[in-house]
Symmetry: D2
Subunit: 450 residues, 4 copies
């Protein structure tokens, strides 16, 4: 779609440049204004009615198209409407395959489990059980936290600064974001906060602090049921932990009888260059939470991988009507077989990660004191201020690129393109991002001069 000349952008002056906090919807008094809750968000900074999507591109109702560097917040790692998944899903639906099956056995669930066994878990030496939870990442995190508490008989779970694990009360207690925590309406209990890798600067090994807190019986930090972490904090600002930091955390968890939970909801499914983000880090989590791209197609699905010895839930002890989404089983199976049955896809990811790193490095050079963040195919640039990052993304959107920010001040411009994005599309996207950055910086300089 991007090959067609894009529709002329709206005149500069009509576009909200003050950042994404107070934008206006583009079509006032429409059905969204009338009926959709004020909780809606992305649609505010990307005021368009989208209709179609293919690969790395989105198309709006006015015929314009956008390169997608957001990918459903990493839920579309294989792009929009992958033709093979699409074909399998249409065939399934057309043939009256099960659409909803609670947690009954179905042929397609068996197929998915076999694909996971053969191509994902088996080759990585993981004997983990697969638990299909309610189809949100938060639900998987809640299940994981419950399991750890049941296994250990302990309550306390250690989570990290800038971690993001969801907004239902159990998961929200583990989430660092103050805006989301403020929405809880009640106290958030049972979680102790520790500094993530790099939180106190690169020279400070924050595991020393964790170690000291756990070792001292009067530290006030109760013996933990689990330590939960993301190896790259997607929402928290693309903070990437060093392997040795993750290893040390895993050791401490083991020493203190706590389970290690890796929340791979955003960083998993190839996003960091491997299927799991923790591969080649020398750790094996006791529990892994998956969601977002696990269905391959953007369909709601979440799961928990848990070591057999910790698979302690009774039947339906943690349940939910949509635990398991049969359509998602179909596409997830295809995704695994298409992309992970051999090493070809993974190999290409390395090249793409380099491409992204290089392009972002050039953009970072334009912004004083900017920092590169992240790793693999979840990289970004910390431009120092949320307002600038928002302006860059708004200008990029005008020019045909969907891209978003992250971080505690929304100060990181984050690239989460489909892993399948062709090199040429990447280059076009980065050209737009470079232009948007240049314009936003010029605008900033002009405002400062006034």
């Amino acid at each position: 779609m991007i090959d067609r000349p894009p529709a002329a952008p709206p005149p500069e002056s009509s576009f909200p440049l003050k950042g994404r906090l107070m934008p206006k919807d583009v079509i006032p008094n429409d059905i969204f204004e009338q009926r959709e809750s004020a909780a809606r968000s992305y649609c505010r900074s990307m005021p368009e009615r989208f209709t179609q999507a293919r690969g790395s591109e989105l198309q709006g109702s006015d015929g314009r198209s956008w390169i997608d560097f957001l990918a459903g917040c990493s839920s579309l790692n294989y792009g929009h409407n992958d033709p093979d998944m699409k074909a399998a899903l249409v065939e399934h639906i057309a043939g009256d395959g099960i659409a909803h099956g609670l947690d009954l056995h179905t042929d397609v669930k068996a197929d998915l489990l076999e694909a996971l066994d053969r191509h994902i878990l088996g080759p990585r030496g993981m004997d983990h059980k697969v638990m299909f939870t309610g189809p949100t990442g938060a639900n998987a995190v809640e299940a994981a936290m419950k399991i750890a508490r049941k296994v250990t008989g302990r309550t306390n779970i250690i989570a990290f600064t800038n971690g993001f694990h969801g907004v239902t009360l159990g998961a929200l207690a583990a989430t660092g974001n103050g805006y989301h925590r403020g929405g809880a309406g009640t106290t958030l209990n049972g979680v102790t906060r520790m500094p993530y890798d790099g939180f106190m600067g690169r020279d400070c090994d924050t595991t020393r602090f964790l170690e000291a807190m756990l070792a001292d019986r009067s530290s006030g930090v109760d013996a933990p049921a689990a330590i939960i972490l993301e190896t790259v904090q997607g929402e928290g600002g693309l903070n990437a932990a060093r392997p040795e930091w993750v290893q040390r955390v895993a050791e401490l968890a083991h020493e203190h009888g706590a389970l290690l939970i890796v929340d791979d909801i955003q960083a998993g499914c190839g996003r960091t260059g491997r299927f799991f983000s923790f591969e080649e880090m020398g750790v094996m989590p006791d529990i892994v939470t998956m969601a977002k791209s696990i269905s391959g197609f953007g369909l709601p699905m979440a799961l928990v991988l848990v070591k057999p010895e910790y698979d302690v839930f009774g039947p339906a002890e943690h349940n939910g009507t949509f635990r398991g989404n049969t359509h998602a089983f179909v596409t997830a199976r295809v995704a695994i077989e298409k992309f992970w049955a051999d090493g070809k896809f993974q190999k290409k990811l390395e090249e793409k990660a380099e491409l992204i790193g290089g392009a972002l490095s050039n953009i970072a050079k334009m912004v004083p004191e900017a920092k590169l963040k992240g790793r693999g195919l979840m990289q970004g640039v910390d431009v120092g201020a949320g307002a600038l990052a928002a302006d860059i993304c708004a200008r990029a959107f005008q020019k045909g690129l969907v891209i978003e920010t992250s971080g505690s001040e929304d100060q990181v411009v984050k690239v989460l393109a489909p892993l399948t994005t062709p090199e040429a599309t990447f280059r076009k996207g980065f050209d737009i991002l470079r232009d948007a950055t240049r314009e936003a910086l010029a605008n900033q300089a002009q405002i400062a001069a006034e």
Copy 2:
């Protein structure tokens, strides 16, 4: 499918008769045994690998078929694979319609909002806003509880005995079920429990107790942010509240500055004979939670309807990657237009409810001290003991009927057939249920005699 002769049932003795708590999977050592978590549940009492479904019937991999009186726990109110929804969904997918769009505006979301506005909310005088939450009922409940707490600045939420609202920590605090509460692994806070209608017997108006507790400033029950209730408790044993009870609760909520939340996740979407379960009860909830059948097709989707004055969330304050499931928007829109654009469908529901009531009444007469439960198309028979109910359901399954239990002791045999089930299918199903009940009672008598 049911027309074909069913495969011969396995010999009686091989079937687990000891209830559903300790069944064996039918195919030991298969992929489910090997890789699926012990949290799996329905598959234990219904040991079959299902492959296809249409209308009110499910088909297994061995060619056998079942009448479905479970309907995905009320997630399939319009039956399996409704041809109109199926056609629209296949067209959407085939045409590269958006599969995953975060909370961006899409054409199909607009279409759904317009259908809700025109056919559901408008005609019922509801100016509620629609909030798409993460696609689980629990997520909608968590959002509703947060809203009430934010609106009122209070923490306490009043929930009822035998209420079921989900198993993530916030929702679980409001859920009565001890088995699920026991899985929390930490304390469940912020909820006060009150007796539901009928909890103390039909002669006791339990709102008097609620009223006294709220009126007395030293009762120890803090001023509530909300009162949350189901008008029929689906999981809690098909307890149906009387309209005057619901009205009185609504009045008390209003008098004490609390929001009224009706959790219509299981009882909504026509299940009680009206689109909303609270219609014709003379109450208008401040917040309504919907999930299960709201997509029409069994796809994961949940939403919160909230009065505009209480639509207080900031952008993404309660968020989640899968808030809004674009495929579900497509089928939900068709479901509304097909079934709710005029009064025909609703009218037929009354006849079916009568049919169900009559059939269950006959079955109840077979069981000493059995009681009819529920209303509309969510009715059942309390057979007095979980073991008997489980045996009835197990025998029914052998004979070609999928049916489940509910209640605090799993003592209620519950009929949750698709609302679209033809009369003939209903009759076949009830014939099976009658036979299963007779056999289970005979077996019980024989055991007692031994």
Copy 3:
């Protein structure tokens, strides 16, 4: 003291008649205004600087004296400065007896334990261990709740409407009073509230509700660690539970594996006519909390009586610098030996209780719809409104009687005179109370007429 002619009361008009909520201190800008926190309370409705006290009388700095129908909220059951306790205490102090001994063994602690053993516990068949907690009732309650939770491994504690157990966070969760709960500043967890005897009217046996909630595994009331109750709710409005109600609660506690905690802080030490308020009720609590009059002299001391099999704390697991107050050991021992070594004192209490009941009955007849409350020597009159009760107490104070209110609306005029009050003093006090009531009613009528 009361024999001397009292100083002339201040002229009527100068006294605050608008109730006790907004009184002025009598000596503005004094050291109390300047330096004492606004949390001070009784001094507001009783604006006098007290200097001496003996028996049932208090004397102020201006030479006036008051009959004391408050008795330190039941902390002075044996009156002020009992001469025998006084002599023993002065001797102890003069002889350099231990003033503060942590929880070291002392001769006077041994003496007290022996007196408890010989005169209190032994004769009543109680093999309970004595735990000296921090010297506040709240501290004893916190210890009791911890013990029950440790014994059972459960968290939930059942408390009753209008119960009052203290204002530290653990105890406050069990306290019903909304004003005090509002001061918590955080959520109060781990307690389920049940209706006390009479809460739903005399005809409603509220144990049926408790029974139903405990029996139903999906009631949402988690299995309790303990049930805590006062047999007469002193602060809650002198609600007296019937013996059969207490028995039934005790049975339910036993059936459900919960400990029975009787909080006898206000109702114990003879206040109801027996040493323990639960005597002759046919129950034996697993834990009893004592404070207020246990020292006999009004000195801070609190203790927990716990059955040996539940004496599970490790050394100092619940500790506190002032656990055990050596001076209080001295007076407590004398109090026990003087008043409880034989049955004479208890016998007199019966007569006094009758006297109180009769006198209050006469006063109650003066007030439309007034109700007698309480039992033994903790009786009062519910006059229907807090403003009237406050006015009665204010006028009584002007006339030489110290008396206070209780109840959720402060609507109960409460008599908590020393148990040792002579009959003549009782009569004088009740004469004042009758006059004060008459005047308050006249004033009320006049205001209503205006």
Copy 4:
């Protein structure tokens, strides 16, 4: 007393040398065994029945005497039975002064407030209000935490590693000690733990961590209502914070809208060499909690000093029967007038602190890797292991010295002698401590050699 030859110690072998964890009471089957709860503690490692005490000495029922280096855990800063306090107290009691007055105004309360105003608060420029809480330190801490939460409308309170603030649920949440936290029986909420000064070694300024956590809006540390700290952690192992650390914490509290609470329960009343432990540190706490030695005589009393603008409690919003202990008012007033009306007492404290430091330094040299801890008159030696420290204290006790340990492993031998201890008595006490240390080390070496 110590001048008389001590009774011969029991033969070596009969004494429990295995540390204080599993000692036997010296008189088995006595009244303490029979009736006192297993929660008793100090009496286990100091098996004696004490009868009298004067100044810095304790006497047992067998005529033996001990030098007291424990001083009621800093509750007897002016020694046992100070003659002037004793005389005033005896006069008060003999003259029928009020023994218990709830929070009524009394002459002796006025006297105390005036003494506090004139000699303590006024000269230090403190306009704080005085709130008399229940007479335990924990109760004062609970009140302080409530005040901070009410003032700010926030819940979170920041406390430090190894802090000790009491064991009632609110205070216990702020306490670090794992043994005590384990006794809670429920989750401890509303407190975030930060590293105290020196927790990560002397080179790590832990306020940097606090600063970073408070500055980052996604750190997961919610905006605090208060920061609570001890300037020297008495129970936590005599960790003494540097003035610049306390200042930085105070600044951060101010910057982030949190109240600064200094818990001066153990370190106050001259223990560090000044009346308040934070004097000359350049900070002025918003709230100060006092207990232990505030009565001067070891009587139970606690209070909260709160800046007038934060004196937000309503009347009796935080209450308790024993809030204010009239006997303690008498002795507290004498203590202030005798010791703090001029600078003489304080001057002597400097000399004594030096003496203690010197003596402990010599003892520390005997123990490999021992460290001096604390400051002023709360100093000690970290001997590296709890077993060794317990053995030293047990041997000291045998030789006539009462002394205890503190710290997360009970590894610090702690000197908390009365501030009034004469130099000669100090020297005798340290001679015993030195001998006990030598013997314990020899015993340790012998065991190691075996």
